[in-house]
């Protein structure tokens, strides 16, 4: 029974990370209709920035995380300005190829500075909490709590503030948003900024229980794509629910079925779902 609860904790941890990454991806998709293949690279850069701030500059974990979020947010905004904005009227295949270009560039750049070694990043939360035999490492608890706080914060921002409402409006209808005077450039930049910051925070939270290396974004971004297809491209609650589904499927599949093949579970699920429902699980209407 205890092992079962342990898997629940693992599922929640994985689901929180995947959810945060997928959230950034789905926000960008909702606004610009770009599947941002470079999002995984932003996640990876986020982890390296935290590593850089903590190990090389010696600042505290929280400060490093905030710094990394700021750097990656700016990077995201730069991507929007320099790459996706000029391509806004091009055929969709161009956006995808450009996103791949950004991904390759970021990965190679990080690899040039830090090499392709696997690195360990420690956090101040190394303790273990013991609830009557149920063991929860502090970092995992932090991930779960952190992710939930961020998601609630983001929801409040999107629903309760005027600035957040412009993002929602733009996602609902581009023309409608223009009609009421919403500045599309501002919204696009803001969305890329938020999406980058979310990726950086997710990476900084997850790095201490994982490793930091240039290819770390590959699996995560592909799973994030699976998640937003599951949850409906552009849907915020869909990204969170989808993240949890994949997180739990992996935690339980990895434990009860096969550790070696646990990474295939997400993709197998995707293949099954898309074979049966080409428009995704919860998608309403066609994009």
């Amino acid at each position: 029974m205890n092992l079962f609860f342990q898997q629940i904790i693992n599922g929640l941890t994985l689901g929180s990370i995947y959810g945060l990454v997928a959230l950034g991806l789905t926000l960008v998709y909702g606004i610009l209709h770009i599947p941002n293949f470079a999002h995984g690279a932003l996640y990876m850069v986020g982890a390296f920035m935290s590593y850089f701030f903590m190990v090389d500059l010696g600042v505290h974990y929280w400060v490093a995380m905030a710094g990394s979020a700021a750097v990656v947010a700016i990077l995201g905004i730069l991507c929007e300005r320099l790459v996706f904005h000029p391509l806004r009227n091009s055929p969709p295949i161009h956006d995808k190829i450009a996103a791949i270009g950004v991904l390759l560039f970021l990965e190679a750049t990080i690899q040039m500075f830090w090499g392709s070694d696997f690195r360990r990043m420690s956090s101040p939360f190394t303790g273990i909490m013991n609830f009557d035999g149920l063991i929860i490492p502090e970092q995992r608890l932090l991930i779960i709590v952190g992710a939930f706080t961020l998601v609630i914060g983001l929801q409040l921002f999107l629903r309760k503030t005027m600035t957040g409402a412009t993002i929602i409006a733009m996602a609902q209808s581009r023309e409608g948003a223009f009609l009421v005077g919403i500045d599309s450039n501002r919204v696009a930049m803001m969305t890329f900024g938020i999406s980058g910051a979310l990726a950086a925070v997710a990476a900084s939270l997850y790095a201490p229980i994982n490793l930091v290396y240039p290819a770390m974004g590959h699996l995560v971004i592909m799973k994030a794509f699976v998640i937003i297809i599951l949850g409906g491209m552009g849907s915020v609650p869909g990204a969170i629910v989808g993240g949890m589904i994949i997180g739990f499927a992996e935690a339980f599949g990895g434990f009860y079925i096969s550790t070696a093949y646990k990474d295939i579970i997400a993709f197998g699920l995707l293949v099954l779902i898309l074979s049966a429902r080409p428009q995704g699980l919860f998608a309403k209407g066609a994009h």
């Binding site: 391509l87 991904l103 794509f225 293949v271 898309l274």
Partner: protein, 344 residues
């Protein structure tokens, strides 16, 4: 006139000159290594021609292309090393396996549109990679496949030598380009282009979308399988890294640099980038620092690559040379620009 412009590669003179150059290349090369590099560039070019069918002509970004390349290589490798087949039967089997798998994947994935298709194939490519890495009983896992047979020359030639192998690959490349040329000018090729330009419009013309897309996909995976099998016969040692997504991205770069949806593009793009990478050996690991931004700049400023840019330039030149015909030419151009693009 415009047709001539657009068919630079179609001109018998240019074609023959290129072919002659390719034939004498081993004699001109200063060492065997250069011949080897050229042969590998040809192998990649064949795969890029495959990608061009589904992505260039048919407009569907297939991110599993490198995976099918690896399937071709693995089929040949495993059949010749573990099952003890000889090269040519295994070679035919590799083509069949990639075609059949391409059909199965195509039937499922091509029901999806645009982004969904790209993401789906990205996942398929990754599943292929994971299977090659983890399914040790079949694929030997990360160790890879050794002792792959070289093609035998029926006692006439010895393909383990670099130069004969070069000519073998060249022969396959010439056949691939010839087939592609026939395809792009056929009704089928034009059907693919119609689907790219607007699948709803194509459907309203009575084109069976699914059947044509699947056909394009199977053709493209067979090309990938052909290239993969030749690759395995050339390097004779393969590992799961052949299925790495980075190879797909490389091929997209080649295609885009040369000119997506053109006939000359894949060859031009592949050969130029392979040689640039070779001459910048120190960059090998970091080549993407250059190629990443290059991809972005290309799609923003030169979405039609070298070939497309060349055609536009030729067209402008033709127009300024004969101002009297200008108006007429521009009318013709609007009418045929679609074909000019696609027959280049």
């Amino acid at each position: 006139m415009l047709f001539k412009l657009g068919s630079f590669f179609m001109k018998p003179g240019a074609k023959m000159a290129l072919l002659a150059l390719a034939i004498v290349f081993p004699a001109l090369a200063s060492n065997e290594y250069q011949v080897y590099v050229m042969a590998s560039a040809f192998v990649w070019a064949i795969a890029v021609y495959g990608l061009n069918i589904i992505t260039g002509y048919c407009g569907q970004l297939n991110l599993a292309h490198g995976g099918f390349f690896a399937i071709g290589a693995y089929t040949l490798g495993l059949l010749t090393s573990d099952a003890g087949w000889s090269f040519w039967p295994a070679f035919v089997a590799a083509l069949l396996v990639t075609a059949v798998l391409g059909f199965l994947v195509g039937v499922v994935s091509l029901r999806l549109k645009e982004h969904y298709f790209a993401i789906f194939t990205l996942c398929v490519g990754f599943i292929i990679y994971l299977l090659m890495d983890k399914w040790e009983e079949l694929t030997h896992g990360p160790v890879g496949v050794r002792d792959i047979a070289a093609p035998y020359g029926f006692g006439v030639v010895d393909f383990t030598e670099t130069t004969p192998f070069y000519y073998l690959v060249l022969a396959f490349l010439v056949f691939s380009i010839w087939f592609m040329g026939r395809l792009s000018r056929s009704l089928l090729g034009r059907t693919f282009i119609a689907i790219r330009n607007g699948d709803e419009l194509a459907q309203s013309l009575g084109i069976n979308l699914m059947r044509n897309k699947v056909l394009a996909f199977v053709l493209s995976t067979t090309y990938a399988g052909l290239a993969g099998a030749l690759y395995a016969g050339m390097v004779r040692f393969i590992g799961p890294e052949e299925a790495n997504i980075i190879h797909t991205f490389d091929m997209i770069t080649y295609l885009l640099v040369g000119g997506i949806g053109t006939l000359t593009g894949p060859l031009l793009g592949t050969i130029s980038i392979v040689w640039i990478t070779q001459s910048l050996q120190f960059l090998e690991e970091y080549r993407m620092i250059l190629f990443g931004p290059l991809l972005v700049v290309l799609v923003i400023f030169f979405p039609r690559g070298i070939t497309g840019q060349f055609l536009t330039w030729m067209h402008h030149k033709a127009q300024t040379l004969s101002p009297a015909k200008k108006e007429k030419a521009s009318k013709v151009q609007t009418a045929t620009s679609g074909e000019v693009k696609n027959n280049a």
